[in-house]
């Protein structure tokens, strides 16, 4: 019997004006014509709440690309979900922000690419930084609770202190400093994004100090650069244990990176109820519990802490999702990670575009 899930990430669109080379969307993206309808999403939110989901992320792509975002936020609010809008801020006009507040939206997370606006625009692949500054001003003015999110990598890690001060000067309630996780587009751009060990160590010190200094004013979440750690990051609460992701076209995943596991088949909310998918589907049951584990995970006491690490990463790097996450220094697979760290080099990025067919590797 599965636990009740707590969190739903609704990737309502893959459309996005930005082209970030670390985008968490898959390489093969979904076009607007394949997206779920407003009614589909409303049903998904109601089913999620009935299943025990408490947290909703309205994400993308850029969720503001959907004209029905306000209706979706209102529906989530009616269900009592604690809803976060995960946005680049591009397209967040005052009128839309007011409508979202009216709809009951509780929390907005705005991404920034860098504290250096020119560098930020280079990473975004568009003139985005000034528009983000304007979006932050609107969010503040309307009194929204808001977070700033910055993805960290070789080109901005040395400015982590500036990024923290910028978010604090904006009055952010919360700052997520997320070292790049290498999936999808980021895996394609790994050599260019990978920081040095010295950069990682320095940034960690800066973040630790800022976390103490801003305690009680701005909560700082520091997402570790897992390649530089000794043990892997835990699979998000355990596979099929707390987390559900629904993609723009309705495929339902145990993790946003799971489409990388090409041996799994994902059921669609157009065909099945969310409850059936959660309890019965082969994808959600594939790595539940620990029966699937091989050594060194099976006999390892850390399996209760990290669940063998990330299944998506194990598959992406070893073509077998039942292997230990190669980040773990207890597995000989760790050499894959060490080689990737050594292969780091400042090269050009491959930027994300929605029409990916011509740009596949």
């Amino acid at each position: 019997m599965a636990n009740a899930p707590t969190t739903l990430l609704a990737e309502i669109t893959h459309r996005c004006p930005l082209h970030c080379p670390y985008c968490s969307n898959p390489l093969a993206m979904v076009g607007a014509e394949q997206e779920l309808t407003t009614a589909d999403w409303k049903r998904v939110f109601a089913e999620a709440r009935d299943l025990g989901v408490l947290q909703l992320g309205l994400s993308g792509g850029e969720p503001l690309a959907r004209k029905d975002l306000e209706a979706l936020a209102a529906s989530a609010h009616e269900q009592g979900l604690y809803t976060t809008l995960v946005t680049s801020g591009i397209g967040l006009t005052r009128a839309r922000a007011e409508a979202l507040r009216e709809a009951g939206l509780e929390h907005i997370q705005i991404s920034i690419q860098d504290s250096d606006l020119e560098m930020a625009d280079r990473i975004a692949g568009m003139r985005a930084a000034q528009q983000k500054v304007a979006a932050v001003a609107i969010v503040r003015e309307l009194g929204f609770a808001f977070s700033i999110n910055a993805v960290l990598h070789r080109a901005n890690l040395d400015r982590v202190s500036d990024i923290i001060e910028l978010a604090a000067s904006w009055g952010a309630d919360r700052l997520e400093l997320a070292n790049t996780q290498y999936y999808g587009w980021a895996l394609q751009n790994r050599a260019a994004l990978m920081p040095t060990a010295a950069q990682v160590a320095a940034a960690q010190d800066v973040a630790d100090e800022a976390k103490r200094r801003y305690r009680g004013r701005m909560q700082i979440i520091y997402v570790l650069p897992d390649y530089h750690e000794t043990y892997p990051k835990p699979c998000y609460g355990g596979w099929g244990n707390v987390y559900i992701v629904v993609t723009p076209d309705g495929r339902t995943l145990p993790c946003h990176g799971a489409t990388e596991i090409t041996t799994l088949a994902f059921d669609n909310v157009r065909d099945r109820s969310l409850a059936w998918i959660w309890e019965e589907s082969s994808a959600f049951n594939a790595y539940r519990g620990d029966d699937w584990m091989k050594e060194p995970c099976r006999s390892c006491p850390r399996k209760a802490v990290d669940f063998g690490g990330c299944r998506c990463q194990a598959f992406a790097l070893t073509a077998d999702a039942t292997n230990a996450d190669p980040v773990c220094t207890l597995t000989p697979l760790r050499s894959i990670i060490d080689q990737a760290i050594q292969a780091a080099a400042p090269t050009d990025y491959r930027f994300r575009y929605l029409t990916v067919e011509t740009r596949r590797p």
């Binding site: 009740a4 709440r49 408490l54 947290q55 604690y82 977070s147 309630d173 919360r174 305690r215 909560q219």
Partner: protein
Amino acid sequence: MTFTPSSVPTLWRLARLDFDRVRQQRVLLYPEGAVLLNDTGAAVLELCDGLRSVGDIAKILEDRYHCDVTADVVEYLSQLEEKELVRG
């Protein structure tokens, strides 16, 4: 920080109390997280209105449960303060 009887605790402005009808339990919700609450935990947090002190809250609960709860209230709020969910 640790709370004292004169501290005035408030919930983080990003956190809110709710009742989860699926788990039949009170919950404290905040970005990317939830704390499932037992009845006494929920009773403490419901009284954190930014006006009452820890001492006021303990007094109300003492009248309700007929035992001295000050130390428990301080301990409980301090744990949540550690997670930055309560401020004082």
